[in-house]
Assembly symmetry: C2
Homo-oligomer: 192 residues x 2
Amino acid sequence: MLASARAEFAARGYDRASIRGIARGAGVDPALVHHYFGTKEQVFEAAIEKAFAPILHVPDQVAAVWPDGAGEHMARFIFGLWEDPETREPVLAVVRSAVNNETAAAAFRRMLTRHMLTRLAGQLAAPDAEVRVQLAIAQLVGVGLLRYVIKFEPLASEDVEDLIARLAPVVQHHLTEAPRPVDSDTPPGSWL
Amino acid sequence: MLASARAEFAARGYDRASIRGIARGAGVDPALVHHYFGTKEQVFEAAIEKAFAPILHVPDQVAAVWPDGAGEHMARFIFGLWEDPETREPVLAVVRSAVNNETAAAAFRRMLTRHMLTRLAGQLAAPDAEVRVQLAIAQLVGVGLLRYVIKFEPLASEDVEDLIARLAPVVQHHLTEAPRPVDSDTPPGSWL
């Protein structure tokens, strides 16, 4: 039923997906989907928890390589989700749904906050830890969007390892470097 | 008609938007919309060119503050689009449509490539200029998505000037710093 739910959300988006369509795809009665999961929102939450299951391990993995390896590990994790055919479609389904629908956005926000943001921010021990983690994730989400969804070239054909090498220091910077004020008297390069 | 088109694309997304709905919103006959713009794809292109009109000036403005002010200028421009009530809805319409539909994604890609990416990349004079510009834009697009669309907190309530100060050096780094290899023997902070 969750596989059918992810296919339905990916193909139709949250707004147009229906319990009826999910039941049809799974070859079961809609009442059974209601019985196991409840509302469409609850089916969606269950489907995205499953799609993002590998995320559960990220905070511990990042803690193990903290601080030097944090940026690279996070970059590698996000590319792993998109490059693996098993997780790519469900991730795309979640992104599409969250961009289009408030309820789906809230479910995505809760899932990411609970399983990753809060625990990563705890690692930072800085008053602005949550903003830092969110800016780091924003860099990786943005690259995922431009490369895998909108398909900008040459980004879409660029080697994954090359992109990880370019992004790791930036993600690392968000997580571990103190922010500097914007000051155009400072020569370029000394900002970071 | 373009205002009605943007409202229709924002409310219904590219897939479900129709020439008929756009004509109804503008109080004109559908034949008139066809006459002025052609297909739905062509209406969409015209609507996004209008929504992103300020983008036409960005490459020249960035060239004027090159290289030190480039990161700050680009960050300020993107936040300007989202913070201005006049441009926020059309930008949201374009993002939603591009994420959900291949045709809309291609139109968005062409618009951004023609008006910004190619000209900014020309400024860099580096063999990997296009990838660099796209990674810089990915950072800003990702922040826009998390702050204005998915509405992660505290990112959504964070002061704009604080975010610009945090993002300018990262955008600048993508544009003007040579990429370093990922090397966990290097102490943190010396990567950038």
